[in-house]
């Protein structure tokens, strides 16, 4: 899905105007716990999260995320914006909640970028 379409669908605002936009977003992932994100996100996804601290950016960088959307109107602070700019990672905000954003993007055809984990293979 086109980068700007993703932001438009979740009624978001891009807060990193100086950062290069990527052309395509491969899929979506929503979560507040960064270990969950690292455990099962695929590359080139949009990360939708209610957590709002610099660790989200660092996690996103490790996981090759292409866009971060802070949900429920959370405003990223200067530390986050500075880091995102430095690392060239686009960040957007949306007044909608995690469920609403995920639902809208999914309905618009954005696939899930979540890998199902087989945590208890012996059960």
């Amino acid at each position: 899905m086109k980068f700007l379409d993703v932001i438009a669908i979740c009624e978001g605002t891009l807060v990193t105007p100086d950062v290069d936009q990527v052309p395509e977003i491969k899929g979506g992932f929503a979560g507040d716990l960064m270990s969950d994100v690292l455990a099962s996100i695929q590359s080139e996804a949009v990360l939708i999260t209610g957590l709002c601290n610099p660790q989200v950016v660092r996690t996103a960088l490790i996981a090759d995320v292409r866009l971060i959307i802070f949900a429920r109107g959370k405003k990223p602070g200067n530390d986050i914006l500075h880091l995102a700019k430095e690392e060239n990672l686009p960040v957007a905000t949306s007044h909608l909640g995690l469920y609403e954003i995920s639902g809208r993007l999914s309905q618009a055809g954005l696939p899930s970028c979540e890998v199902e984990l087989n945590l208890f293979p012996n059960d």
Partner: protein, 316 residues
Amino acid sequence: MSDQATVSDKNAGMITRVEELGYELKIGQVMTTKVVTLSPETTILEALDVFKQHRISGTPVTVEGELVGIISTEDLIRALRDGRIDRSVSTYMTKDLITVKATDYIVEALKVFAKTKVGRLPVVNENNKLIGLITKGDITNGLLTALQRDYQAEEIIRYRASHLFEDIESDRTSLILRYRIIKDDFVHGGAASNNIKRALLRLGANRQIARKCGIAVYESEMNLIIHTNNGGFLRVEIEPHKITIEAYDDGPGIDDVEKALTPGYSTATEEIRDKGFGAGMGLVNIRSCVDEMSLKSSKESGTNLFMTMYLDKPGN
């Protein structure tokens, strides 16, 4: 090319490399020095032959090297229309000349090209002697050559980094990266991991390996920040065929190692969970990213986590 004299910090970030080169390359570097010149006495007919022979559409007119005019195809057409092909070039040449200096930056020539209709500019020295000619084509060529040079320089740097291990001969070559991780330093948490990931990519590792290694180190880094008494150390050793990661601290040690390896099991406080950590997935994530993992922990000597990734393994 913009004609603005001042560049603010804000739009400085948006200047392209080509625009930058406009202020780096000098006219003398891109101009043509082998210039066909005519003398004022040359006839229009002779000039036509010279234009045809050299496939040019304009040329400077000089007297003993000094620039006195410039004559173009348009001037020749005027002479033809008047039926005066026997007249001298001096009658039809442009005498009101715009010239540039070899020491000027190419942006100066571009400004003239943008403002006027001229297609070529004579380049003169301080004594008005002609030393070259510059056209838009010369500038384009100069820019492309400079960009090519930039590109090659960058390629060499990239090549050197990615062939580091091949260039150095020894019985066993490795690169060791060490990071001190400070307890409760959430602000910089993940910085070391991202630096390691970047180093791997620079050394030529594929994205998948860099990502997996990044995740393993990130989880280890956060564990040191959250669960230790005094922080700890990360040590990453990169060898041509494997990466060894070590995370160690001096306490307090893990009570029940087996439980700590259970997905979802966490001893993190509510405060840590509010920061997005403590999902009980750290060690589980690490195990799924590396090929070998061993965890040793005691109250006396703290926790040591060893991880190995084999670069030649299928699937990596």
